[in-house]
């Protein structure tokens, strides 16, 4: 199996597009950091609020949210944590990281994860389909290796590429932050459920990155399935990207119906449990993880069944 993955990895990097996507990701990250820096210097905010003022306003807003009796448990927990953190900051004079600091960039690096999803979808949709369109599938399947092993090696390779992109995202965000913004003052505080504790911005950034990787994983798997079933990379990539954008919108349309709880895109963003923006009530992290795993099993089952049984006429 290791040799098969080695093969897929070699083929992946023999294509220019794989390199271009990594480079493009780095360029986009440096670019956005550069533009932000330029905007900040060209148009400085007049009379900026002190961090205490910002924190007081946030505290007031979060307190008001807590008065809402219809909050779900997850949302209530989130607002309670935010309130506790703001109070702790004001009492102990502990400012948060400045918004234009390397540290804040690292904490928020996951917001660029949609680019990683996009690039992963391109690889995932093409890795099986391209073997069919090039006709190499018949060379690949007339080897003493069972089909499911070949498919598995392709899936693992796709996910390794996705992980690599996420790591590049994290490192480049930190580098660009360091170059354009430098190390800022502040502390990162987190609510562990009973008290406010100081945390590492690196770990926080990694945690959010790992949570948002769930959406890369499941949408990548979806594209992988489409590429395997339809043997057309353009269809797989196009449909996956289309669903990636419209699928989340559909959550709001479906929000009033019970079915929304079992809808994939309600659960793709696991960071929602830490950012407080949970569009659907009564869902929990555990439920989201279970729903994602069920979808994953369905997608994989369809991929393996079609790939294993198909008569190759290409």
């Amino acid at each position: 199996m290791l040799k098969l993955i080695q093969n897929e990895w070699m083929k992946l990097w023999s294509r220019k597009s794989s390199w271009i996507m990594v480079i493009l990701l780095a360029v986009i990250l440096f670019g956005t950091a550069g533009i932000t820096k330029w905007v900040n210097t060209a148009m400085p905010i007049e009379n900026p609020e002190s961090w205490q003022e910002v924190e007081t306003n946030e505290l007031a807003y979060n307190m008001s949210m807590l008065e809402n009796t219809e909050l779900s448990d997850a949302q209530r927990e989130y607002y309670e944590g935010e309130v506790a953190i703001s109070e702790h900051r004001l009492e102990n004079d502990l400012p948060p990281y400045e918004y234009d600091s390397m540290q804040q960039g690292v904490i928020e690096s996951h917001i660029m994860m949609s680019i990683v999803t996009l690039f992963t979808v391109i690889i995932a949709g093409g890795i099986v389909a391209s073997e069919f369109s090039q006709g190499t599938i018949k060379m690949l399947l007339t080897r003493p290796v069972k089909r499911w092993k070949i498919l598995t090696s392709k899936y693992i390779t796709t996910m390794l590429y996705a992980i690599l992109l996420a790591i590049v995202l994290f490192i480049v965000t930190a580098l660009a932050g360091l170059i354009f913004f430098g190390i800022g003052d502040g502390t990162f505080l987190t609510w562990n459920g009973s008290e406010v504790v100081e945390g590492s911005f690196w770990l926080e950034g990694l945690k959010m990155l790992a949570l948002s990787f769930a959406s890369v994983w499941i949408i990548g798997t979806f594209a992988f399935m489409l590429g395997t079933v339809f043997r057309s990379s353009s269809l797989a990539i196009g449909l996956s990207i289309f669903l990636m954008f419209t699928g989340i919108q559909a959550v709001f349309l479906l929000a009033d119906y019970e079915i929304v709880k079992y809808y994939l895109f309600t659960h793709t963003d696991l960071t929602q449990y830490y950012t407080g923006f949970i569009p659907v009530e009564d869902i929990t992290m555990t439920m989201s993880v279970i729903v994602l795993i069920v979808y994953f099993i369905i997608f994989m089952a369809i991929s393996y069944l079609t790939f294993g049984k198909r008569d190759v006429t290409a």
Binding site: G135, T136, L140
Partner: protein, 307 residues
């Protein structure tokens, strides 16, 4: 043949929709023997070959390679097979060497040395590090042969292997296949449209039409010795020759006599003595093409008669 067959095709059938594309095919292939696989377009050659290498699943029947079933123990059976199915498509964005490395990793125990050896054998040493995209069709065929030979297979299946090779390449290819069949005891199964090529290459020919195996012949049988006599008067000569026991038939404006070369001078002497004018006596060779057309009834594309 008393020898155990290396490859046994048993009752192989394929039904797609309601159409039976391959009908109960039985065929044995032996060590050291090159078998040609002929048939008009659409007769089911490619489908048969695809089922033999596991690209398509048979609806019925099975293929045994060295006793192992392709259906039930795919890895063990296909390990012994080298395959070129139609044009050998390679990864164009990688070098020839990387392509071979790629395929070698899918077999057990192929060393870098073995790759170099095969590259040398197919005469690709100078261009092996260039991208396959820059290769000519003939070079791709050579690379295709190299990937099929990497794991030293006991059985080679080739579908249209000489497509795109130049005459020198075809000759080299033929001699090479005959060499590995003879020296290494490899069983070879070749489908081709180039009948003259099959005739030179193969020991045995299997003909398929409309999904059915209609004939298996040894090439030697096909090349029985016949002579064409151009003589006058024709009727008299025919009478004389058949009178002394030669099988004679009319062919165009001459007589076709089935006999060995050693009997020719005697026959000529008798004709001369009988005052028959002899214009020419020449060996007559029916080409495989003639026989093929005879066997398949004109070589219509299969199913055409249902129109």
């Amino acid at each position: 043949m008393s020898e155990q067959a290396l490859v046994q095709i048993k009752n192989l059938s394929k039904t797609i929709g309601s159409k039976r594309i391959i009908k109960n095919l039985d065929l044995d292939l032996y060590k050291g023997q090159i078998t040609g696989f002929l048939g008009p377009n659409g007769a089911g050659k490619t489908t048969t070959i695809r089922m033999m290498v596991g690209l398509m699943k048979p609806s019925e029947g099975d293929v045994l390679i060295d006793g192992k079933s392709v259906k039930h123990s795919f890895e063990e059976s296909i390990e012994k097979v080298g395959v070129i199915v139609e044009n050998p498509e390679m990864y164009k964005y990688m070098s020839g060497y990387k392509n071979l490395l790629h395929f070698s990793r899918m077999h057990k125990g192929i060393s870098k040395k073995r790759i170099d050896e095969v590259v040398h054998q197919v005469g690709m040493k100078n261009r092996i590090n260039e991208k396959v995209g820059s290769y000519s069709l003939g070079m791709r065929q050579r690379l295709g042969l190299a990937q099929a030979l990497l794991h030293d297979p006991k059985f080679l299946i080739l579908d249209e292997p000489t497509n795109g090779l130049d005459p020198a390449g075809i000759r080299e290819f033929r001699l090479y296949l005959q060499k590995i069949a003879r020296e290494n005891g490899v069983a070879v199964f070749v489908s081709s449209h180039l009948l003259s090529e099959i005739e030179l290459l193969c020991d045995r020919i299997a003909v398929i039409q409309n999904g059915e195996l209609i004939d298996i012949k040894n090439v030697k049988e096909l090349q029985q010795s016949r002579f064409l006599f151009k003589v006058e008067p024709l009727a008299e000569a025919e009478e004389i020759l058949s009178g002394i026991g030669f099988p004679v038939s009319r062919f165009e404006d001459g007589l076709l006599v089935e006999t060995e070369a050693q009997h020719i001078p005697g026959a000529v002497k008798i004709l001369v003595n009988a005052n028959i004018s002899i214009f020419a006596v020449q060996p007559f060779k029916a080409t495989l093409e003639d026989q093929f057309l005879e066997m398949t009834g004109g070589g219509d594309i299969a199913q055409a008669h249902t129109k």
